[in-house]
Symmetry: C2
Subunit: 258 residues, 2 copies
């Protein structure tokens, strides 16, 4: 069976040119077929402010109205995606920058407007992902680099959660590939004590995850991230790693397995 590594980086690293460059050099060193998914970063918010586009929020989460959709399409699919591709090409990585509209790679469904209208936000249906397109690119030696913009197959682009995009791609590819999913973020892994960076939990299984949740040791944004990860594992992804973007090549990390 062929293998593929799917690596997701967040906006926090996209915003730091030196850390990003260091990450991309490590990413290029990963052997075998691989895919990068990148989040947004602060550029979209800054541009939004400069253009006087009102940022609408609900419970701390952004609502994607039509002007915001245009803005994130420009920033994520345009500026950030192509800058990452150019930086990877410079070091010899045959990157191909993509949105989910390209090659119909990641079709999504606009989220229902009830109870809250999130606007142009897309939920991915992993079973509709065009894995054949990605296989064509991977088999020919190319490295897909995705921003988290998808489309509704009805002409509209959609803003999508980058973590979900990564887990959906991993899940779709696990039919033909032995798939590893790597979530990079600003910590060394899942911490037993949020105040102690040295308390990385090396392994979390479905069972120990339940226990950690019951003890209240997993909180906030880490819950949807781990839920996403375990959903991917249940659909055939072999392993999920949660680690710091600086540590891509070393094994300071949390490994998730069923």
């Amino acid at each position: 069976m062929k293998s593929v590594k799917i690596v997701k980086i967040g906006g926090n690293i996209v915003d730091k040119p030196e850390a990003l460059q260091n990450f991309l050099e490590n990413f290029h060193k990963l052997e075998g077929p691989k895919i990068l998914i990148h989040g947004g970063g602060a550029i979209a918010s800054k541009l939004s402010k400069d253009l006087g586009i009102e940022v609408k929020m609900h419970n701390g989460r952004r609502i994607t109205d039509i002007e915001t959709l245009k803005l994130v399409t420009m920033v994520y699919a345009g500026l950030i995606n192509k800058q990452i591709v150019a930086a990877l090409q410079q070091i010899g990585c045959m990157a191909v920058g993509l949105s989910g509209a390209d090659g119909n790679s990641v079709p999504a469904t606009k989220r229902a407007p009830n109870p809250i209208d999130w606007g142009f936000v897309g939920d991915v249906e992993p079973e509709k992902i065009n894995a054949g397109f990605l296989e064509t690119l991977l088999d020919a030696g190319y490295t897909p680099v995705f921003c988290a913009i998808t489309h509704d197959s009805n002409g509209s682009l959609l803003n999508t959660n980058a973590d979900t995009m990564a887990s959906s791609l991993a899940r779709a590819l696990s039919v033909k590939y032995s798939t590893s999913l790597v979530y990079c973020f600003e910590k060394d892994g899942v911490l037993a004590d949020p105040d102690d960076d040295n308390s990385v939990i090396p392994l979390i299984t479905r069972e120990s995850y339940r226990e950690l949740l019951e003890k209240g040791m997993i909180i906030g944004g880490m819950i949807p991230k781990l839920d996403n990860a375990f959903a991917a594992l249940e659909y055939g992804v072999e392993q999920v790693f949660i680690k710091h973007a600086d540590n891509l090549l070393c094994n300071k990390e949390t490994l998730l397995k069923l």
Copy 2:
């Protein structure tokens, strides 16, 4: 020999949603492997104004400073490219949006800063185009859709003339494909009398082009367009058409042949 059609549209049609939709439907009806190259349009200038980025010009041509480069990357590679891809996907065309950095498809060289420093402007070297990448996509049934952003293989993106990008791609592909190049613009073809839209010259050869130039019948922006076209023909492109974007499927056009 395989065949491919390379179609270039300008910013004027990108700015008109209905005309663009009509064009894309016709483009989708073109049989066989094909590639679309799109220009910019007024959105970049509007955004530039909204963001207070000073537009620097020399002899009526824009200088691409670093802020302008970021802006055109956002607008051309992001917003316009992905909107066109989503619109093509809606009607069943398996479009893949690309810049010249993606798959190292179109490497370019930053123009020398003397006598005029045009900034981040790239000149394409057709012999360095990664035709193999395009062949991989075309053979698998995908339709590449290019914006006119390239890269210098040294980490920097570059703003490139869309006409030159189209002729360079046509020239590079003509090694393995019987290649037709179609330039769409706002007239029905090359006009014998600029004031008479019915005076389309149906055929221009290298020899008749020389005569038309001597008689002063070809002027302004049409000269670099035709120079580009004849250069492509001399490097193996089979035929070049110049026509209105509305007429993609009918033969109201100027055909250029050696």
